[in-house]
């Protein structure tokens, strides 16, 4: 997946640069940089760096495939890379299983939550999201899931709508 993310970034950077070039003015009539100058600079840098990055990730994955060695699951890749650069071994937190499927499920639930928020109102959308989430990942506790799924949205709705007077979508039932 790493190389596909890198490839996605390269495609986006090409699209960004191409759209910028086709819609923006690069230099004014007096020869000064115009609205497209800075985006072009960024776009070019992005295209070059994303292409090199993709090549690196591709090679890394190919090498892993050839050697058959699967790297350990890293808990905090960014901080661990910084520690490596300074010669500090911070990999004691690594290992363990990864849960890609769960990430997909949670993300889809979040998308569903945002999609239904306007038509059915924030409160009901929150309740439905919580029910879906808790009955997927915490099935054993039916009663507490039900109570929690109403209590937390109720509290947050009250806090934002009543206390902070925020504008939240309202359901056809008036809440």
């Amino acid at each position: 997946m790493k190389k596909w993310f890198a490839a996605g970034l390269l495609i986006l950077s090409v699209a960004y640069t191409a759209h910028g070039l086709s819609t923006l003015t690069l230099v004014t009539s007096s020869g000064r940089p115009a609205a497209g100058f800075f985006p072009l600079l960024i776009g070019l840098l992005m295209m070059i760096s994303c292409a090199v990055n993709l090549l690196g990730d591709w090679r890394e994955e190919s090498a892993q495939r050839r050697s058959g060695i699967v790297p350990r699951h890293q808990a905090d890749p960014e901080a661990e890379a910084k520690a490596d650069a300074l010669g500090v071994d911070a990999h004691g937190i690594d290992g363990g299983q990864d849960y890609g499927r769960d990430v997909l499920i949670v993300f889809l639930y979040i998308c569903g939550f945002v999609a239904i928020m306007k038509p059915i109102g924030a409160f009901l959308a929150m309740v439905l999201f919580m029910l879906a989430f808790l009955f997927t990942f915490n099935r054993a506790h039916v009663l507490s899931n039900l109570i929690y799924s109403v209590a937390l949205p109720g509290f947050l709705y009250g806090l934002f709508k009543v206390l902070l007077n925020a504008s939240l979508p309202i359901s056809p039932f008036g809440f």
Binding site: C50, K82, V88, A90, I93, F113, V114
Partner: protein
């Protein structure tokens, strides 16, 4: 000068110690401890998610509360590092190296107390140095022109991205993504629309809070789900400060007496330097402590100095990062970038003039940090049993709280469903960035500073009539330009030297 500082601080204390200021400071510190406690949910995410909850407050009180969350999370983040080998946030990764072995040896109590004392020490040293440095730096920065500002931004971002070990390139790309997002909207110089695709909602640009909440809040949450936090059984841990074994020994204090100072000094410097931040500060603090120790073999096996150094450093760094934010208006880390966003939301423009125009705010914030550190050390020691109880809450019940706060909070800011979708997409990108070694902090920093970078770059270009010599003609610019070149060139030169050395060695071995 001391009289000025005293009078400024008393002005600040009148704000921070007012009933309202104190109440929200305690709430911020408490929330910060909890934010730090939940793995993967760092200060940047905590501040971003809780920004919408400060809408009803006065700007100064709101920022005092958000700053309390910021430095409070540094205290809370270590509790899980020590007890369950799971860092609450990136800046406490280094604390697991010796913190967890200490707990395994049955010294969890002393480790928790020493981390609280180290955090207090580092945090207080940091605030004392802010008090001394911020006004002087602001005075100095008042003479800065666009070229100096552009170079500071460039140095900060380059430092943030080049300090990432193997992931330098990914850090650089992360910053470019932030700049690219920052170009959406109306160009300030010409008024031309860029990348808006005809949408009126994008004319004002991509709203920074939605991106920050997405990258840090949803992104980190998805990363925690990926790590399996939501499937972890509840950890029933019990700690009581009434236990005899709870308190550190005299040897612990004696052996760490210089570590407190070293860690604080290193951390503060790391915080002040744009781009390095608390994570790097804590790792450097640990690394230096191990190098200067006469018995480095003890490190990694439950050495108290190995815990004290990163703890003093990350708290001093979180204070240090406020110096460039308050005096230059330039954040040095992801969390301070989110704080800058909150400043701007409240109509406060950080920079050299902030101290002159709004002394009540600046000194109120600084004074609140003194008080906050005192509140936090008391909470960290005497309320540890309470905070440990929070770990009884299964992460599966924490996930919906974070999701609802992110989504409802992002929607509530401008009642915009497009911004809410931007948050969701940013969340997915943030997860992938964290997973594949990119830097969401660099993206947010570049997004926040993007328009400033473009504006100052173009101003410098126009003033120098296209020659760009403004970047090396003025003394401060010249120094910054040399630093910038050093950051870019030095790693390449070093890599070439290492390569040629190893080639020579290979050749001599063959002979």
């Amino acid at each position: 000068m001391l009289a000025d500082i005293a009078s400024n601080l008393s002005l600040g204390l009148s704000v921070a110690a007012s009933p309202e200021g104190f109440l929200f400071l305690v709430i911020g510190a408490f929330l910060g401890m909890i934010v730090g406690l939940f793995p993967g949910f760092g200060p940047a995410a905590g501040i971003a998610v809780l920004i919408p909850m400060t809408f009803g407050l006065q700007p100064t009180i709101a920022i005092i509360m958000l700053a309390g969350i910021y430095y409070g999370s540094m205290y809370g983040g270590t509790i899980t590092s020590i007890l369950i080998n799971t860092p609450g946030e990136s800046a406490t990764v280094a604390s697991t190296i010796d913190g967890y072995p200490l707990a395994q040896k049955g010294r969890a109590g002393p480790a928790l107390v020493m981390q609280a004392i180290a955090s207090f020490f580092g945090g207080t040293v940091g605030v004392v140095l802010i008090t001394a440095l911020a006004p002087s730096l602001a005075n100095f920065a008042a003479s800065f022109g666009p070229s100096e500002y552009f170079l500071i931004i460039a140095v900060g971002l380059l430092m943030l991205t080049t300090m990432m070990g193997d992931n330098k390139f990914k850090g650089f790309i992360s910053a470019l993504i932030g700049f690219a997002i920052g170009t959406v909207g109306v160009d300030v110089m010409s008024g031309q629309q860029r990348f808006t695709f005809g949408s009126p909602e994008l004319i004002g640009g991509v709203y920074f809070v939605a991106v920050a909440i997405g990258l840090f809040g949803i992104g980190e949450l998805l990363h925690c789900v990926y790590n399996g936090q939501h499937r972890q059984p509840t950890k029933r841990l019990r700690i009581s400060f009434r236990d005899k074994e709870f308190w550190p020994s005299k040897e612990d204090y004696y052996e760490s007496r210089w570590t407190f100072w070293r860690g604080s000094g290193i951390g503060f410097l790391a915080g002040v330097l744009p781009g390095s931040g608390a994570t790097l500060g804590s790792i450097i603090g640990y690394s230096v402590e191990k190098k200067v120790a006469k018995d480095p073999e003890k490190f990694g096996k439950g050495e108290m100095r190995g815990l004290v150094a990163p703890e003093a450093a990350n708290n001093a760094a979180s204070a240090g990062a406020m110096v460039p934010l308050l005096s230059l208006g330039i954040p040095g880390s992801g969390a301070t970038a989110v704080l800058l966003g909150a400043f701007l939301m409240w109509g406060l423009q950080p920079g050299p003039l902030l101290i002159v125009n709004d002394p009540e705010f600046v000194w109120g914030l600084i004074a609140s940090m003194y008080l906050g550190n005192m509140i936090l050390i008391a909470m960290s020691i005497f309320a540890i049993p309470l905070f440990v109880k929070f770990l009884d809450v299964p992460y599966v019940n924490v996930v919906p709280v974070i999701v609802l706060l992110c989504i409802i909070g992002a929607f509530a800011i401008n009642a915009s469903i497009i911004e809410t979708w931007i948050l969701v997409v940013s969340g997915l990108i943030g997860f992938a960035m964290k997973r594949y070694g990119y830097s969401p902090a660099a993206t947010v920093l570049a997004l926040v500073l993007g328009s400033m970078a473009e504006e100052t770059f173009l101003q410098s270009y126009i003033i120098s009539q296209g020659t760009m010599n403004l970047f090396w003609e003025r003394p401060v610019s010249l120094v910054l330009f040399i630093v910038l070149l050093a950051i870019v060139v030095l790693p390449i030169v070093l890599a070439l030297l290492v390569r040629s050395k190893s080639a020579r060695e290979g050749l001599s071995n063959k002979v």
